[in-house]
Symmetry: C2
Subunit: 455 residues, 2 copies
């Protein structure tokens, strides 16, 4: 038998790491410890199952412990929580959540891949029946159960991030009335307010009520303990609701390392080397519980993206298998579709960039990403650069799918640390069905260069 690897957490980072390590060194004895009921699922697909596009719940789950063992030779234990890491004894204390039994599992190498967890609302009624967060696939099943066949009529979504926006669409698809309450002055703080407003108008056009600049003071409950509604700050305005979904942010799930010698970074996530090593020998961390270097600022941050988690998992698995492999960092590229409109972003948004000390100059262009006689797919693109170095800092696009796919060009330019001058001459593809002679990406660069000249 080969080395024994333990992996705590069985989703993007943990699954990828285990699979990669096992592929490189088939003799490895790898066990995944997972506290929930499922490994290897698509949390991103959840809103589309709730909305009815994904027919079966099982379509969201790629592996069961059986299929993982049969197809990849990796063990997985569900409903098993890791309680404590004992580095001196190279072991982890775990608890079987069904039987309540504890045992100690030995490891030669350990990977912590516990992901993120939702921040909960610290207000009255937050624990009422009918109040949900979404971070694991069973949260979706619980919401579906709760919704039942037409049981819930009115939902309030507290917070308007990725999950909130996609769930708003899913709930509307099921005929549920939706109100979004957002503390900030605009929805979707991942992009600038002047861009987010383009998403908000789409939500409103599809019958979603959006209240910004408001906080929820308390969640009201009926005498039987079920949720009744929410009370907003100031006005004492009461919104009836039979479902409340809370999406007010996420944080690294790092309870397991509290009280241990494993060091957290300033972001609150586990500090790691570019080989995904923690400060404790033989203990690795990857995914949303670990820090990620932001390639624009060069600083470690906390990312909460499956794409980044999977890449870190791959690097962790390679290093655990004895390879030399390095993670270069991320630029924070995301995309979200809300009804008929898509929003994408990469790098830093304006406020983030200012906080990091950059001198932000931007350009915003409304363009066509296709010849008009092919439909002229529309999109608005905003690009940010630093006026001193002329380096690109970030970009945002709101519009059609075809428009928003261009965010990957900007993500690539950010990874290469391009200036606006370099990016303005990118040799992008053109044919009338799929582009325009001057891509709006390049037009935005040209506008940005003119702004820089005037400074």
């Amino acid at each position: 038998m080969g080395e024994r690897h333990l992996v705590v957490g069985g989703n993007a980072a943990g699954m990828t790491a285990a699979s990669r390590a096992k592929r490189l060194v088939p003799s490895l004895d790898i066990t995944i410890i997972e506290a929930s009921q499922h490994i290897s699922y698509s949390i991103c697909g959840l809103p589309y199952w709730l909305g009815g596009r994904v027919p079966r719940f099982e379509d969201l789950v790629y592996f069961t412990p059986d299929s993982l063992q049969n197809e990849r030779g990796i063990n997985a234990r569900l409903l098993t929580r890791a309680l404590e890491i004992l580095p001196a004894r190279r072991s982890v204390l775990v608890e079987d959540l069904r039987r309540g039994e504890k045992e100690t599992l030995k490891y030669d190498k350990l990977l912590i891949a516990t992901g993120y967890k939702p921040i909960s609302l610290d207000i009255e009624g937050a624990e009422a029946e009918g109040v949900f967060t979404v971070s694991r696939i069973e949260d979706g099943a619980a919401i579906a159960d709760w919704l039942g066949p037409g049981r819930a009529k009115q939902a309030v979504l507290v917070g308007a991030g990725y999950v909130g926006l996609e769930m708003a669409e899913a709930l509307r698809e099921r005929g549920v009335g939706v109100t979004i309450i957002e503390k900030a002055n605009g929805i979707f703080p991942a992009i600038d307010p002047d861009m987010a407003t383009l998403l908000q108008s789409e939500l409103e056009a599809r019958g979603v009520r959006v209240l910004t600049g408001r906080t929820v003071e308390r969640i009201t409950t009926r005498s039987d303990g079920l949720v009744q509604g929410v009370e907003l700050s100031g006005s004492r305005y009461h919104l009836p609701a039979d479902l409340v979904l809370v999406d007010v942010g996420v944080e690294p799930r790092v309870d397991l390392v509290h009280g241990s010698d494993i060091r957290l970074g300033r972001s609150g996530a586990i500090a790691v080397s570019d080989r995904m090593e923690t400060n404790v020998p033989m203990v690795y961390a990857a995914g949303n519980c670990a820090e990620t270097v932001n390639m624009v600022t060069g600083r470690p941050t906390f990312a909460f993206l499956g794409t980044v988690a999977a890449k870190q998992g791959r690097v962790a698995g390679e290093n655990m298998a004895g390879r030399l492999s390095h993670f270069r960092g991320a630029v924070g590229t995301t995309v979200v579709k809300v009804f008929g409109r898509v929003a994408a972003r990469t790098g830093l948004a304006t406020e983030e960039a200012r906080r990091e000390g950059f001198h932000v100059v931007d350009a915003r262009v409304e363009g066509r990403f296709q010849a008009s006689y092919f439909g002229g797919e529309p999109g608005t693109i905003k690009i940010l650069a630093d006026s001193e170095t002329r380096r690109l800092l970030g970009a945002q696009i709101v519009g059609s799918e075809m428009a928003c796919l261009r965010i990957d060009v900007l993500a690539t330019a950010l990874a290469a640390r391009m200036t606006v001058d370099e990016a303005a001459q990118l040799d992008l593809a053109y044919a009338p069905p799929v582009g325009t002679l001057w891509s709006p990406v390049l037009t935005a660069m040209n506008v940005l260069m003119r702004r820089l000249e005037r400074m």
Copy 2:
């Protein structure tokens, strides 16, 4: 009155240069000399006008001389051919093609932007009525006249490049039978044969007959001089045709500089600095008549792309207006749609890369560029790298539009001279409607890295 600028050629490069220079220095007196009947047109839109998607011919033309004068303050003279450059006298001898009169026009600065011209077939019958090439917008009008309402029934396309493929679709849309004859063993030599075959199957599925590895020996004519058909090499096989379209390559249109001191590069196009200066003072060249540095090889080449021409024109215009502006080069990114399938490429294809002395290693992946429950837009991606430096050399994608748009990510990675290791960790956007957790772009990089390990 300001400086006098002459621009020979009124399409992508010439128009962009004139517009940019005039915008920067409004006092400039700029005149465009154009031998054909139109300036500022979309040759790329021509097949879509012939096929019926673009309703009016005028929709393909952005400016007339009148609108150019009114909107931008730039003069344009149509049907005026530049015959000779006289640098010592800072003047150009031109001929008015309608009146046959010659005159000498003075310049302070001159831009040569004459573009490319099609290579003609040097065989019997090549001048017959009903034989066409496509390089200017009036070629399209002539083909439309010739086709008339149902007059042509059978077309033979000699050569299967961009124009040939798009015209095949346009002619099928008009109910014309189409046979493509290609000398090489596969169509569309801009991509590797194993990728081009995916396009060929689409052509054949839409009723286009494709004969490869065959050359046309002669074009046969009727007694009245009209085209009758083509005779193929070897077999003496005769294909009837009432329209023959020749697309066997293009070359820089540089007749104007023959016999002058203006130097051509080894590619046959005009040699220019990165400021688009020729070797003769005050004479600039831009667009498809001028050389372009290929950013993958670092060497000057001849490009025949409107996108590159427009960017070079912009740089030329800025320098002619007294700015300091540099053209960084191109990577050769193109995309073509043929019926329901799209093909895109960037950088070098396999044979090109080998000729340049690279040690080519490749990976080919069939992937989904979207979650399966959103349709799972399919595409095949092939990536080439150099096994010694691990640098990316080129990429090709054949599939849906959504798949092929990703070529711009690779074009950006090539401009940044990324290695496969760097590109494998690009932070690309994911949401089920527009992507997959592992983009096939990244999967292909991972496959390529595994291949490199085994070498």
